[in-house]
């Protein structure tokens, strides 16, 4: 069977096992030389592809939920969407959420995912209080920030290379309503959007969409979207009766792969321009439900098929604060040179890195994520972007990567040797490999 992740690139033909019980996971693990755990396949590249894959999707049970404190314990294959459905009616929400709710808890830990609140609330791993990890030798170890802390912090952001997360306990955050008070502000160029991020620091959620097709004096023009959880008082009367309402399920589906020529420099330019000019106003605000606010793309099932059968890749990097302005400019100019544009483009100012999580991606500075259809021209351009990111002291997000070179990885992740040392301490490299970890020479 063919298996791919969200980018539909690369493809592997190796088997996936779908155990329903912990004892079956152990049995499969012990009968294998090289395995990697996989969740819902929402990383973009080859992080959860390998010689043999153990899916956690049948380990999808919620084990405990304290409705007073918001502490929740889940098996690794529980989706964030399952947690939300259980938590929201009791006035709780995920402490940190990525742009899709269709990732598993195990995946969220392995990629140490971040969200629009990274500058204020950190990464997902920082809210995990305890987890159980199945090690290479078949033992299950409970770890937390105070117990086997090295295993805990290498598993957060460790791309599944320490072992298989079986269950985890984490803290949900209290909310008064299921709604977000949102403000959108247009920025005419890179300078303006960076100023906006600086002045929006006190907002819980900040993120911006960026027009990659704009250049010259418009380079970096963006729309800042900042938000706060709406209080009950702020809600319009009609929503006050049921302030913790779950969304109504109306979903579009992309039933087949679009022919890949539909995504080209002209259509992307038109889409970018259209989105930037969708409102003539410089600033607008309103109350919106959490679902469209956090997960706009989740309402279109299989949106990845828009890029065609050959797939696409997301290029996501972060640059240190002092290098961000120049580095971002260089990157955007390079897109213009290649006439390659992205539509789903996200710019965000991260807060400080959490040092204990040695392989976790976020660090202080500007983070930019862009989608590109896979083609030789793009691959060439991305190699050049790697050089720029390396020059300015930045790094790429492993959960999105499908192609960077091992040298670049080890140069840009300064703690990669510490990561390997911890893997060896827990004797993980004899068992856990992904296509990515071998490609990046982490596990070989």
């Amino acid at each position: 069977m063919k298996t791919t992740n969200w980018g539909n690139y690369p493809v592997t033909q190796t088997p996936t096992f779908n155990p329903s019980f912990e004892e079956d996971v152990i049995r499969i693990l012990q009968a294998s030389d090289s395995v990697i755990a996989r969740g819902n396949g929402r990383c973009y590249g080859d992080s959860s592809l390998g010689g043999k894959m153990i899916s956690t999707l049948n380990l999808n049970k919620i084990l405990a939920f304290d409705r007073q404190t918001g502490l929740i314990t889940c098996q690794a294959g529980v989706l964030l969407s399952d947690v939300i459905e259980v938590a929201v009616p009791y006035g709780f929400f995920l402490p940190v959420t990525p742009g899709t709710k269709f990732v598993t808890i195990g995946g969220a830990i392995a990629s140490d995912v971040h969200g629009k609140n990274h500058h204020s609330e950190g990464t997902f791993g920082q809210h995990v209080t305890e987890m159980e990890v199945l090690l290479a030798d078949g033992q299950i170890v409970t770890c937390s920030p105070s117990q086997h802390a090295d295993l805990f912090w290498t598993t957060c952001g460790g791309m599944g290379l320490t072992g298989i997360v079986l269950k985890a306990t984490f803290r949900l955050k209290k909310i008064e309503t299921a709604y977000i008070r949102q403000e959108q502000v247009k920025a005419r160029n890179l300078e303006e959007i960076m100023d906006l991020f600086a002045e929006s620091e006190s907002w819980t959620y900040t993120v911006s969409w960026l027009d990659t097709s704009a250049h010259g004096k418009d380079l970096g023009r963006s729309i800042m979207m900042r938000g706060e959880h709406a209080s009950l008082e702020e809600l319009p009367q009609k929503w006050k009766k049921n302030p913790l309402a779950l969304p109504k399920n109306k979903k579009l589906n992309i039933p087949f792969y679009f022919p890949s020529f539909l995504i080209n420099d002209l259509t992307l330019k038109i889409m970018n321009r259209g989105y930037y000019f969708k409102s003539p106003k410089k600033q607008w605000s309103g109350i919106t439900h959490y679902d469209p606010y956090y997960y706009p793309l989740d309402s279109i099932l299989n949106w990845n098929r828009v890029y065609g059968k050959n797939g696409f890749t997301q290029y996501q990097f972060v640059l240190p604060p002092e290098a961000s302005r120049e580095g971002l400019r260089k990157v955007l100019e390079r897109l213009e040179k290649y006439k390659q544009y992205s539509f789903v483009t996200v710019l965000k100012l991260f807060g400080k890195a959490y040092k204990e999580a040695v392989l976790s991606f976020p660090m202080e500075g500007y983070n930019l994520a862009m989608d590109f259809k896979i083609c030789p021209e793009v691959m060439k351009m991305l190699d050049e972007l790697d050089a720029i990111v390396a020059d300015y002291g930045g790094r790429l997000y492993l959960a999105k990567d499908a192609r960077m070179k091992a040298e670049f990885f080890h140069q840009s992740y300064a703690n990669s040797h510490l990561f390997r040392e911890t893997l060896d301490k827990w004797q993980a490299r004899c068992k856990f490999h992904s296509l990515q970890s071998d490609r990046l020479k982490i596990t070989v």
Binding site: E23, K61, I62, L63, A64, V86
Partner: protein, 245 residues
């Protein structure tokens, strides 16, 4: 629906899907299986998602002498019983020199079912109410070389159920024979099942849930199976025996 559902063989995918479907409707659940510790995650998940009471009970279909004790010690008597245990077994092994495999298939699919259903039937008959939903199989409609040991055990179960239905109809107890056809589950993982003929466990659960109200005698999950089996049953034996089924 404010009733108690007993699911026998609750670790299977179809049984689990049933547990969610009935819990969603507010039913109390008793989940029974051989390795009851495996069911603890399912229990907590059902209780958290649907705010229903879920009780776990140890039950081994082949440990017949424990069945009376098992049924008597349930926290409350069920209104609906879903018999979902059974094994596919290995036909190849069962037909060669290893009678143990054949015996296991017969016991787990037939003997065990007779043993526990006898006990439940007597209780339901006395109470003059209740519904028994038993998962039999289309494989029991006609023996085929690829799985006739499993098929014959299911055929026995089907015949048992039809007799039981005949007896209990006077007491107002409904016995429903379910022939799911192909279902995408752990038991069939890796088999090349044709998609249009294969139901999801959730579809099975949904039709079982509806059946409690509609009270059919025999039911298929996907309607197309009724016609497939009609044809298969009516192929003359002279031709059938030469087919590679």
């Amino acid at each position: 629906m404010n009733s108690t559902i007993l699911i026998l063989g609750a670790t299977s995918d179809m049984a689990q899907a049933c547990a969610y479907r009935f819990a969603k409707a507010g039913c109390q659940l008793i989940l029974a299986s051989r390795k009851v510790s495996r069911l603890a995650p399912l229990q907590s998940d059902l209780e958290i998602k649907h705010q229903v009471k879920v009780h776990l009970a140890e039950f081994d279909a082949c440990a017949y002498i424990t069945h009376t004790q098992f049924y008597q010690s349930l926290p409350s008597k069920p209104d609906v019983v879903i018999l979902a245990f059974g094994i596919l077994g290995e036909q190849e092994i069962a037909q060669k020199d290893d009678f143990a495999e054949a015996h296991k298939i017969i016991d787990a699919n037939y003997t065990g079912a007779v043993s526990i259903l006898n006990i439940i039937a007597n209780d339901f008959e006395q109470r003059k109410s209740g519904t028994i939903l038993a998962l039999s199989s289309v494989a029991g409609d006609r023996g085929r070389q690829s799985n006739y040991i499993y098929g014959s055990a299911k055929a026995g179960l089907t015949a048992y159920l039809s007799g039981l239905r005949n007896r209990l109809s006077k007491a107002g107890v409904q016995v429903i024979t379910v022939k799911p056809g192909f279902v995408a589950t752990k038991m069939t993982e890796g088999l090349p099942l044709p998609k249009p003929l294969t139901a999801k466990p959730e579809q099975v659960a949904n039709s079982l849930f509806k059946a409690v109200k509609k009270k059919p005698n025999t039911m298929y999950v996907l309607p197309v199976w009724r016609y497939i089996m009609l044809i298969i049953r009516n192929i003359p034996e002279g031709i059938f025996k030469k087919l590679n089924l």
